[in-house]
Symmetry: D3
Subunit: 335 residues, 6 copies
């Protein structure tokens, strides 16, 4: 076997997941954000909402392990993002004070601020949902590069609104997974008037005195499409509504895996057992409908690898959602 043969063999075998050191989608490992267009980043954080299930920090590892095997081209959008853009795996955000949510939130924001400065659009995999707050603070709003100084339209898929401002700090976490969707509006990272929350379902908690699902979100200016409204609207009308609100400005997508039905995404934290969630087809069609929007970044959160099915279905679903988001970015950047 010559050196050339060796290299060729290595390349041709390079997409099988059992083989080699795992990076996201087998992208090059390069920690320098200035050398990529899209930055794939793991955020192994679980102290922002780990009330009962606390293994969200294992999410990035799980997706790296399964994503080596995934396809390289998008069959619907007809694009091969890994060939058209520089896409790197930057590794994980270092979280040396892992059990201190406030310190982690600071570290996450500082990390993504470096990406913002370098112009690399992030696609992150969590971690619990508290990571979305500092990511948005780092890349959106006044003084931020990727959003052009403007707040973003948030396109938020979730079983919950995460704007529970009237809740006490979540088990001691101040910038928690329970209210990031509120403080990012109040601190000008998100423009609620352009934003939509989709997929909310489930019974209200007695803890939230007098509150109802969606209540405080609407006061902040969000449009909330609860699951039963989504069922009446269907995918196309829902997409149209999201697009109309978002308009031409910068957008950010956050995808909490608990918006999916437990049967298709069993390994998530805070599983919502009642009512039905999105099917894979609904979720992918919703994301694919966002083609053409100016997506400056996105994340997928709440993967719980230790509760996944034996075949790691939820990790694979998280991978698919990351692929849909990065393809949306690639479609706009390569236009």
């Amino acid at each position: 076997m010559t050196q050339d043969d060796f290299e060729a063999a290595k390349r041709s075998a390079a997409s099988w997941y059992w083989w080699g050191i795992p990076t996201f989608f087998r992208c090059p490992w390069n920690e320098d954000p200035s050398q990529c267009d899209i930055a794939l980043v793991g955020v192994p954080h679980s102290s922002g909402n780990g009330s009962t299930e606390r293994d969200q920090h294992l999410g990035p590892r799980a997706v790296r392990n399964v994503s080596g095997f995934y396809r390289r081209a998008h069959g619907v959008h007809n694009v091969a993002p890994f060939e058209q853009l520089r896409i790197s795996d930057l590794g994980d955000v270092p979280l040396p004070e892992a059990m201190n949510n406030e310190a982690c939130v600071r570290d996450i924001e500082a990390y993504f601020a470096r990406l913002d400065a370098a112009g690399a659009r992030p696609v992150a995999i969590g971690g619990d949902h508290s990571i979305t707050g500092p990511i948005l603070k780092a890349i959106a709003g006044p003084g931020r590069n990727l959003s052009g100084g403007k707040p973003v339209a948030l396109i938020h898929f979730d079983a919950h609104t995460d704007s529970y401002e009237n809740m006490p700090h979540w088990l001691g976490a101040k910038r928690s997974a329970a209210h990031w969707a509120a403080y990012t509006v109040r601190e000008d990272a998100v423009d609620a008037a352009r934003s939509t929350q989709v997929g909310m379902r489930g019974h209200p908690s007695g803890l939230i005195h007098g509150g109802r699902v969606g209540g405080s979100s609407e006061a902040l200016g969000y449009r909330v499409i609860k699951m039963d409204e989504f069922e009446r609207l269907g995918v196309d009308a829902t997409v149209a509504m999201i697009r109309e609100r978002a308009g031409e400005g910068p957008c950010y997508i956050t995808f909490d895996l608990d918006c999916l039905d437990p049967s298709v995404a069993p390994g998530v934290s805070n599983l919502e057992p009642g009512f039905g969630g999105f099917s894979i087809r609904e979720a992918t069609r919703l994301l694919q409908g966002l083609k053409g929007l100016d997506i400056i970044g996105g994340d997928v959160v709440c993967l719980m690898p230790t509760k996944d099915s034996p075949n790691n279905i939820t990790a694979q679903v998280a991978m698919v959602m990351m692929f849909e988001i990065l393809t949306l970015i690639a479609l706009r950047k390569t236009d």
Copy 2:
């Protein structure tokens, strides 16, 4: 931390499932039926139909373990049952001769007769489906308190009719999970003319000579809505049919988890792999449609915790169905 602070903290943290001694929905543990309106009861019985899978007795424990985390208010019916009624966890029916089905059936009936006398409406979690026979015998029909001396309308969700009278005793069990739906009619606990069985599917067994799914049920007077008929009717027409038959009198709901599709309820005994079962949305909408009926009790059966998914999805689904049933009782009682 003062004693007051300590108590307040305890209360505010009281809905997280990893914490403390588990009772159903964190209700108070009180074995006296006279002190509650709704009695949550575990029936850890698995010798009435344990032919191949024999861990249904672990069902109550599994639901207690997950239900501490569940919500306290019903988002569709707009009611907070745990605040409006006295709802207790009474513990489990003692079954000292656990491997003797006939002795257990007697013990179950004696236990629920005490509830009937006290006027506590039971919501039980099994256990295999043979538990429904003695519960019905204890609370419905002549001489029984909760049903006002009348037989109940049975609202029966299941993949099977459980009225297989022409079968031999099930592996030695006489009052078994295979024919409780027949003997309760013959013994005046159930009024078949007001009752409906919904969700039957699957191929007939060669064991039941000449029998067809639904056959003997209809001879007893039941209306059987098999799965393919349900698909033609839809949720609303099915609900209307159940309601029309049930009328104003007392009703009882029994929910065998095998009526659900295996993808949404994998941890059940006697899983029905062919055809498709109910989705969570269909099942919850069917139950929610029964609002206003005079539900005097109900049960959820055939949870097999040892076959559940790593995230205990089926135990969570069983919990949801218990919550739907107890909310229906609360709605009527608080009117």
Copy 3:
């Protein structure tokens, strides 16, 4: 207990799966193909496409273990195939050089040629999908008995077309799971003009240069109904299209479990996580729609028992699909 009682008891208990030496559907174990009408055969082969998941050889064992419990009559077609035809479990194809795909492919073809000569219609359980090539070579096309010397219409349910002729040999396997659907056409076992491939979905792989899902299949003459077209057509129109193409001649059904949605069939190799696959209801209705076609054999492939759910749902689904196929054969043979 008399000897007669003993035998009667044994017969009456004979359908419970935990009991006794497991054969497919509790059929008699008889290795002589001349003594049966339908031959149930295990093909424990996993070196034809085992790139990342290599436990498909455990599939036959898994189905034998669960199928003892299954029903003996078909509720929709109203037929009891095990009573009407001679159906045997012939055991597994011996594969003494298990890790050598080419040797195994030869052994499989030789094995099924003995069935062809004997006139026994095979229903096989794999194994990876490379087993379908040698089965078809053994029973279909010039000189073959079961097909009357004619190539068969292939009715192919799958997430992939398996006609990737422009791929290099799959990890060293020449007659691999990636291109059996092409070489069987070129070698006259399959008549592509009468054949249909249904259920393809997912993104194209970068490995297949310039290729698109379905591309080379259509060049070979297949009609490919991708998943999104199926959703537009619905079950009935899809069935009509398959039947119209197949016509009166001999047909063969191959069912790759990855055409099902991962939520209903989690334990398969090469799981397709994006988009949605068939539900159980869609799949069974598609198969039941083929009643009356001249099915000369069939197979179910890509079961991965080591990745199945704790309740072995996928093995049970594989069993159901075998039952649907053998019932179709029985319906035609007993007309």
Copy 4:
């Protein structure tokens, strides 16, 4: 591949466990006891002591599944039993009233009486420990063939003595796993004066009023070697003591897997977590030390396949113990 090659290949590959219909050690399946010297029998019974864990009936299936791969010759005794004697898998004892312990006990005794009459020495795999009572009743004592009409010396490896006569019927089971070791003495199947119980450990239960581990056994005449005494004696002295008591007459070995340490046999019912149990080495040396005794049969019980390790270690250990016992029988019969 010629037919001869085909047959030869099949034979040479015949010892790999994934392949074919599983029988114990790949022995021929032959239900006629008169055609074998040693009868391997499954006893899928779990209603004699299923108090909390009730899957012992899955034991025979689990051992069949793993035993196809095991070796054919004994490395210490230097014997190849499967070549020297006729050893068959007779299948499982039919238990049509599986949930009725008393009926099952009768059926088990009737089944083994047929073996006794035929002169086939049984090696059984359970099943819970209540199966040993009816097996002993069928083959040992007055009127029995295999024991020459005499009671046997019982060589009993267990964490418990199973002679708890002062207990109430175990959860309704009368001839239960808790007192078979007593009633077989009282009914002349076992000669306690020649018998030894080894390996008892654990704290006494408060249920057994005034009882101590070993107490009632010694009153019956057994010699009880508790685990701490075994540790002082060592393997050789223990073996010597067992042999001296057993003498020249017929012996029976029963091996309850809970005598092993949970680390080496995790998948057993009624796991004894405190103190340490036998290691594999100690257990195999104890059994090998019995060479030359006239072993007329034996059993291995309390395998719980649903609690086994992912690699089925306990099923493999059960298989090893069956192999040791059948080799002891073969050594004596071939002398």
Copy 5:
């Protein structure tokens, strides 16, 4: 069934673990420490050392679930503690700010201070090892009741010394699992001169600059018996050394499950894979050797139920160690 029969049946069946609401060893649930001699307490805390594995908060629930089945009398010490003392399950320490280690440490200390005041000797189950710091602060040293105002002798079984003062705060936790054994000495809760640490093993971490296992412990005054020294000494000499140092004063036992070999206790956090740990026999004999010491409390920590074996062996082992400790307390109190 009469009411009396019902109550009697309930009592006789009361020790089977599947049955009823689970409390530790089926003790009464009574949150008032003044009504018990020994207080069994769960401390569901995992933010003091959850670096990689963060499910130690599920430990109390896991032990409650398995302990219903355990024995009521100690076979070696010949005592029935639950009959001789008032032993209650007090529930869990409320930890409303679960993700804030410092807040939890304060809450734990406050909780155990109530026990100290009431004179109830605690046996706690964690939780990570950071819980031992606040427990010791609450019950030992100047002003504390249970210890008579004196610091205790710490008897510490562990693979690590937990006195790593030169480490930075552990992932943000200040009173962490890494240095509680140091600060309790410096703050006069522990008298190192009377204390012993046993079982340390494993390679030193590069993180601990210049540190060696045992180093800082010895500077604090502890006697450290590393695993290789223990192997030379044996159980009896080790016990003698611990007893000689501890003397007549008050003692506290803390048992970190990682001192056990991974084969006997697989479900622990921070598993130590190299070298061998204690066997169950060694561990129980070490604990039993402490009979007669004045044990004022104890704990068992680092159970990780989500990593336990399918049969929950580690939870059962944790239960056994709690039973050994509470028996030691009972032995002294009832003298």
Copy 6:
């Protein structure tokens, strides 16, 4: 957070396994063998002996995932190898024809020949045991650099001798896991006269006609220390014997995890259930006893991650054995 702080934080957190892209022991990923002293290499190969269990190719990934957390210094040898030598993770051997054993064996030899030329001493993790043949061929014997042109002394820990020359090719694999220990002697890579095989146990297979465990090995010149001889000798005498035979020349260590007892290493292929294997303590002491020998490389094989315990104990044990081997190399190189 400044850039310096960021880098420092990253370094200090660098040893927690959930964090970042996993390499062996967090070593730098550098595919150039000329830049390291010790090369850590994954060999994801499972077609050389995958008869029944075929997931050995997942071994390298599994060890990378757990090894990030392991210690950096050796507590017994008092050395910090990662600081004293250049140790890199070179990634995995590319195996583009993964299902063709002979092609893989060629690719593995070519890969390690590059390391041999560069002077990098390999420590490999398999993969099945057939990988040791090509590694030895690449680095040992005439013309090879690392061994100075001489054959090596093989120090072989295993339950089997792997020198079964009289076996047919293993399921079609010619340079298989069953006879690499023979052909490497015949082809001058191994000097059997200086070599020792330790730990063999288990019954002989009937397949190996007339063969006995150890037989052909001794004919080749190996010294075979079977498990029962090891038990008589003890660790120290065994080490002395190995050292005396090996002498001053180059040595190679191969460690098949099946030499360990299944209780301490459950996740291995071809598990040997009978007799007892090494404990962790015995195995580590055997390896540590080899200090000072001129170890030019080593490997650890037969990890089956899909059969490992829930806490990945076997992967952690494989990691420990790699650490022991690389430390031995470091000790000699840094002298």
